[in-house]
């Protein structure tokens, strides 16, 4: 375990100590693999994924079902460990983090929206949303304000705020999960199919929220199956069978999403870093 003085230092200024490239990337992965063992059977969910994502990026991840998108997101969100490979978050190697440091990182730096929306059953919507703040020891009054703001951004009608989470529809649950991810105003938002259960209108409210957050400098990574959703992002990564098959900048401003030009096939995984570097120039 590291001293808490260390922790605070890390939160304030970015990478200095590590042997990681001090390029100021928010996320840098090298050769991530994930092998699931169930009985004798090995499933290779990730087979060597390398990518970098810079602060302020808006990335969509696409790919067929079972290609390893959720697995990658869990690793990026510090919820699961890779089988091999390196993952630097804000310049720090994640595997060197203590359990408590990981908890701080999940609570303060990252907002995660699960594919299966994990809410506490039999607890109210508001309680679910404020939970990350409860673990931060934030005073009650402040908690309520933030929760209400987050629920508005996620587009959940006020009449549902005091419902128990198991009395909600799939789309409402999804919005609660998004509100919870937004509550700590995290630098990085990871959303696993956040609009999968929503009609286009409510989906749009959420995507608009993401756009606004991105404009304010938040980094957003989302998984989607819909190209219309992916086109709102500035960069699209395609995954197949646990490998990145394309990494393409949507060479347009997202206001012009409808008239997007044909995708340019990006470089192989090893060149991803270079491609990501160009992203800065485009936007």
């Amino acid at each position: 375990m590291k001293a808490s003085a260390d922790e605070t230092t890390r939160e304030r200024d970015m990478p200095t100590v590590n042997e990681a490239p001090s390029s100021g990337h928010m996320i840098e992965c090298r050769d991530l693999t994930k092998v699931y063992l169930s009985g004798d059977q090995e499933t290779h969910a990730l087979c060597g994924v390398s990518l970098t994502i810079d602060p302020g990026e808006y990335v969509a991840i696409m790919g067929p079902s079972g290609s390893g998108k959720s697995t990658l997101m869990h690793i990026l969100g510090a919820l699961d460990n890779p089988t091999s490979g390196e993952y630097y978050f804000e310049g720090q190697e994640i595997s060197e983090f203590s359990d408590d440091e990981l908890a701080d990182m999940r609570r303060l730096r990252i907002g995660f929206v699960f594919q299966q929306f994990n809410l506490l059953p039999r607890a109210t919507v508001l309680r679910n949303v404020v939970l990350p703040l409860v673990y931060s020891g934030i005073p009650r009054g402040e908690r309520e304000e933030k929760a209400e703001a987050a629920l508005r951004k996620a587009g959940l009608e006020e009449s549902h705020w005091t419902h128990l989470s198991n009395q909600l529809s799939g789309g409402q649950i999804q919005r609660v999960a998004i509100a919870r991810a937004l509550i700590n105003d995290p630098a990085l938002i990871l959303a696993d199919e956040p609009t999968g259960n929503l009609d286009t209108k409510t989906g749009d409210i959420i995507l608009e929220t993401f756009n606004e957050l991105n404009d304010k400098g938040h980094t957003i990574v989302l998984i989607t199956h819909e190209s219309a959703v992916a086109e709102r992002a500035r960069r699209t990564i395609r995954i197949m069978d646990g490998l990145i098959v394309s990494d393409q900048r949507n060479g347009h401003h997202r206001a012009a999403a409808v008239a997007a030009p044909a995708p340019v096939d990006a470089a192989a995984p090893a060149e991803t870093a270079a491609a990501a570097g160009e992203t800065e120039v485009v936007s």
Binding site: G77, L79, A103, D104, R106, L120, Y135, S136
Partner: protein, 409 residues
């Protein structure tokens, strides 16, 4: 995480699954309540036996005529005619004797104006009152002058008084001043004893007391033989010595050289008391064992509840970790939950157990005494079970990474 939040989170979690929490509480309540109620019965019967023995008189020795227990086949004990009034006088000279009350006992038909009965009539002296610890509810006991003047007076036990004259509280006549006929002799009632409690036909509440001289002359038919001698020793620790002294004295007086062929028997109240208390202690332990089994069953119920919900709770732990809870936050929450549950049920269990033993006291006619020691044991054990099985699985689960915990089956 703040204390108020930890408490709130725990209370929400307990309330979120009412069936699980309810069954866990029920298990502990049953365990604790049955331990308390059953041991209370055991302790209560022990206490009533002790008090019954003590109410017979303290530091009491009794001498009965007839064969000693080790003397083989002899005439029926108690019926033999070997104890004389002169023996009683000789014993009263012994230095360790504080008081002595000779008795001649017989069963006679007793007739009063209102009713009749068959009663144990004890002819004795004034000393009997202190030796056998008699308390009066009205009038006086037999006096020395009654004995010396062959007065035809009688003192009634509380039960026989109501049998013959009715309950004074329910419109019966006051027996004092009334006359009764025992074996065709008229006696004037001068006193009624207070109820002592006890069982069987020789129950002191069922006895009638008359002066020794009167009883010997008019009832026993000019007898000179005694039925029993009740003797109080000067103190507790000289009882054994006095027992030996009396035995030696009577052996000499009756000219018997071999103590195994003694024609009398000296009994020590302490011996009786220790036999009775050890019997009732066995009873208490037996009841405690039964209670222990129900505590164990309750405990297994708790374990079962806790372990079957481990899957659900592991997912919950995974979710909490995923949104940034620290291991310590989770451990504390589950510990607080377990403590709240076990203490809540502990308190309910103690109250239920207490009410149950009060009920037994009141309606079951059994004496029951709650002992702090058993309350502590019952409470402590169930708290331990609840906390270990509520907390340990949670602590283990909090060490998993969030996805492992969320995927736990």
């Amino acid at each position: 995480m703040k204390l108020s939040d930890i408490l709130e989170e725990s209370v929400i979690a307990i309330g979120a699954n009412k069936v699980r929490s309810g069954l866990t509480v029920l298990g502990i309540v049953i365990g604790i309540a049955s331990v308390i109620a059953l041991t209370a019965i055991g302790q209560g019967s022990q206490a009533s036996i002790t008090s019954a023995i003590e109410s017979a008189g303290s530091n009491l020795l009794t001498v009965s005529p007839g064969a000693s227990s080790s003397g083989g086949v002899r005439g029926a004990y108690g019926g033999a005619k070997t104890l004389l009034l002169t023996d009683a006088e000789a014993i009263s000279e012994l230095s360790l004797v504080k008081a002595i009350a000779p008795q001649v006992t017989g069963r006679y038909q007793v007739i009063a104006t209102a009713g009749n009965s068959n009663a144990n009539v004890i002819a004795t002296t004034a000393a009997y009152e202190t030796v056998r610890n008699v308390t009066m509810s009205g009038g006086t006991f037999i006096t020395d002058s009654d004995t010396s003047s062959y007065s035809k007076v009688a003192v009634l036990g509380s039960t026989i008084a109501t049998d013959l004259f009715g309950d004074p509280a329910a419109g019966g006549t006051d027996p004092i001043g009334q006359t009764i006929r025992i074996k065709s002799t008229k006696f004037t009632i001068v006193g009624v004893t207070a109820a002592k409690g006890g069982f069987g036909p020789d129950n002191a509440d069922n006895a009638i007391y008359v002066p020794l001289s009167t009883g010997m002359r008019f009832l026993a038919g000019e007898t000179t033989y005694l039925s029993t001698l009740s003797i109080t020793a000067v103190d507790q620790k000289s009882m054994d010595q006095l027992q030996t002294d009396i035995t030696d004295l009577l052996l000499t007086r009756h000219k018997i050289s071999d103590s195994t062929s003694a024609d009398f028997r000296v009994m020590n109240q302490a011996d009786l008391a220790s036999t009775m208390t050890s019997t009732s202690r066995t009873l208490t332990l037996l009841l405690a064992a039964i209670a222990g089994i129900s505590l164990l069953v309750g405990g297994i119920g708790i374990m079962n509840m806790m372990l079957t919900t481990v899957t659900e709770r592991t997912r919950e732990i995974g979710l909490r970790k995923a949104i940034g809870a620290k291991r310590r936050d989770i451990s504390i929450q589950f510990l607080v939950e377990a403590v709240i549950m076990t203490f809540l049920s502990g308190i309910i269990g103690v109250v239920v157990g207490w009410l149950a033993s009060m009920g037994i006291n009141h309606f079951g006619g059994l004496n029951s005494v709650i002992t702090v020691q058993w309350v502590v044991i019952a409470f402590g054990l169930s708290a331990l079970i609840g906390i270990v099985f509520g907390f340990y699985p949670a602590r283990r689960a909090s060490g998993l990474n969030p996805i492992q915990a969320l995927r736990y089956e």
